[in-house]
Symmetry: C2
Subunit: 447 residues, 2 copies
């Protein structure tokens, strides 16, 4: 993509309304634009990252055997009356009347609707386990939306729902999602730590939150540093096999948010030098809630013994749009965003120092094409602005690699390759630089 034909409205100044780094940087880097309190447009570069995050979530859900469908944003109030949640849900639910005065709502979550879908279509235990998920816009009418996409009102969420014949099977479904989440966040280049959590308004008796550690996080967290070094399950993990050892390994070290923190246990179980007290940002949560929805909604399956039983359910959320904020909180510096390779809007920024010089323009177009042929995306800054402006903008946008092309270097037959995260610079022949990027991404690439 050539920047001169792109829409990337970067800002030099910090927007006054943004209180945290990710909100400031998403506005300054031209990723989002506020349309109303807690409601954002995703500008082209922001949308690219949103889609890359969504794709990783989808791949890992599919790998774990979940089936994707798509439920609508609007739901009937009567459906929520059936599950008993309509009156219980507070003012965060956006309630709507259509032209015929029928009561609708903008879905904040989908336990009720997915249970209705399941109930209408699945009758026998033989179809189980089943896990249905979607990636859809939700709305929660926050009293005080803030922190950009971290606490917006219209937000993109992946929510999955498991259906099982009994509690033991439901716990296996829970473990599948637990393991899929470990892989999902790791593939985005972040480490999200599963922590025991309260179950809150979703209900149930078993839940873990996945938190990205960041000083600016919303919750205080307490954990054993051992959890930071645990291995991420590989792509070949057998989701039909026994996942208990992985889950046990990840839940053995102490890790809890302030809501459920047990100070005495923390001191007793964790040696002083391994006690980590910091803050975290929730990016996912998994729940087992048993028959909370299936019993009132009569979502029954015929068991092996011929009798009808309510299914045992769980739900599994990932805050897809919120993840942009969390990833930036965990990865930025004074100059701007520092994207992990897997979710950067573009893998590479080509900084053309002498636009209009036919030889330089041609070389930039050439390396651009070579990167694309390798399956990488690049943003070519072909504008006629000063080098200083271009460097600052690239650092702000935070693309993992910068390929700096100019007359001075080229007179020596070289370009400069800068790694955004470390500031490390290499001087290489142009296509050696392209090959270097390819090799590094291949080595870091996790499938």
């Amino acid at each position: 993509m050539r920047l001169s034909r792109y829409l990337l409205p970067t800002l030099k100044e910090n927007p006054a309304e943004a209180q945290i780094a990710s909100h400031r940087l998403m506005l300054r880097a031209g990723l989002i634009r506020q349309e109303a309190a807690g409601i954002y447009s995703w500008l082209p570069a922001g949308l690219r990252t949103l889609r890359k995050i969504e794709a990783i979530v989808r791949e890992e859900m599919n790998r774990a055997g979940a089936l994707e469908l798509l439920m609508p944003t609007l739901q009937l109030a009567d459906l929520w009356r059936e599950s008993g949640r309509y009156d219980a849900y507070g003012p965060e639910m956006l309630r709507i009347r259509d032209r015929h005065e029928r009561e609708l709502l903008y879905g904040p979550t989908n336990e009720d609707m997915v249970t209705a879908i399941f109930r209408a279509n699945v009758k026998s235990y033989r179809a189980l386990p089943m896990n249905l998920y979607h990636v859809q816009w939700k709305f929660r009418d926050e009293q005080r939306p803030r922190f950009g996409v971290m606490r917006g009102r219209e937000f993109l969420m992946k929510d999955a729902y498991s259906f099982d014949v009994d509690e033991a099977a439901a716990r296996r479904s829970y473990q599948r999602m637990f393991v899929a989440y470990l892989r999902t966040f790791a593939r985005m280049g972040i480490r999200a730590i599963p922590m025991r959590a309260e179950t809150g308004p979703i209900g149930g008796d078993l839940s873990h939150e996945f938190l990205v550690l960041a000083q600016t996080g919303e919750s205080a967290v307490y954990c054993d540093k051992a959890v930071l070094d645990l291995p991420i399950p590989g792509a070949g993990v057998d989701y039909d096999g026994d996942l208990d050892p992985i889950v046990r390994q990840w839940t053995a070290p102490y890790a809890a948010t302030e809501d459920v923190h047990d100070f005495e246990r923390f001191e007793r179980e964790v040696p002083a030098e391994r006690r980590l007290q910091t803050r975290g940002i929730e990016v996912g949560q998994v729940f087992y809630f048993g028959t909370k929805y299936s019993a009132p909604m009569k979502a029954l399956v015929t068991g092996a013994d011929g009798g009808d039983k309510p299914i045992h359910g769980g739900s599994y959320g990932i805050g897809v749009s919120r993840l942009l904020g969390a990833i930036i909180e965990a990865g930025h510096d004074e100059a701007g965003i520092v994207w992990p390779d897997a979710v950067a809007p573009f893998n590479v920024g080509i900084v053309n120092l002498d636009p209009g010089d036919a030889q330089i323009d041609e070389l930039c177009a050439g390396v651009h094409g070579a990167l694309e042929a390798m399956g990488l995306d690049a943003l070519h800054d072909d504008t006629d602005e000063r080098p200083g402006v271009k460097f600052a903008r690239m650092d702000l946008l935070g693309l993992p690699w910068q390929l700096i092309v100019g007359r001075r270097g080229l007179s020596q037959g070289t370009v400069e390759l800068k790694r955004r995260a470390t500031g490390e610079r290499l001087t290489l022949a142009p296509y050696d630089a392209v090959a270097h990027i390819g090799r590094c991404l291949e080595n870091s690439g996790e499938e």
Copy 2:
């Protein structure tokens, strides 16, 4: 995908509420489920086709130089007051109040918001032409939603908006979209005919509708049969070049919907044997509307002469969810849907006639893997139902190819390969059948 682990709730009976073939077949084939009047869930197989359609739309928009962003579903009423449309828009607009009694609406279209985005970020003619699009859920509160996704209330639409410095440039942007639309629909395996159209509530003075011909279409259409044989522009079309010859070629033969039909001109210009009078389904519409939004909203750019001028705009819609209905109306028979290759939920259905027979199961898994290795998707019917049930279900679902694997055939070393559209059957060695499918798709493949 193995059918025994999938959610494909097919129905034997015609649902009473469905009046047209596509609605009946989408419900019967388990593609959608109604959640409220005009509001649907997309079940896994329906979602697969929706995503394939969306991907083609996106590829062709990008090819034509449009930039993707994503605007939210909810908008501020005040934005629509600024453009003067809030009061003009009738009861089809879903008006909402949030917890603070702020007035919102569920966007039925995005001219106003995209103009605000443009105005805030683009100041100079040098950034033009610019075309911004998104693929997002919209809501129109139809008085009487019906015909399934053909006239739903919550629907998925691609809408693009062009910004140009003057009328001549805007007409070139219009032509780019006109040509992109020819390619987009052709790649989906349908022929959509551009017809002169009224501009309606979007305003403006130049518009074409793209209609798929089908006896069940909503509008009567009149056209010169010559338009049915015109060539579709190739993937190499130069969107920066002169598109006038293509547009002239496609707009020269008479083609009009009943709203603007000129009976005398039709008789005068079209020889009797080439006069086609049928019905059509609108799947896209393109508008040039000049300064209708930019003037009231003060979306100005500085021109080459230094003066500020309102930009000249156009908008370009494709009914992404509606296309499923249109494609099915244009392609079905007594037994069910007949999907074009490019948008079928799966390319191939593997009908396992002897599930439980280890050799047959292994062969089915083998051809399944071979198809996937070729980049094709397959649905393997591994259920223990009767062959007749399986054949009827595959015909109903309408996958382009059926690969029928059973003991009887395999004793001769063969499987049967059926082409859904023609009923043609070939008896081949299993992996020859796979190779045959690959060759046919390659030959029909348009990039």
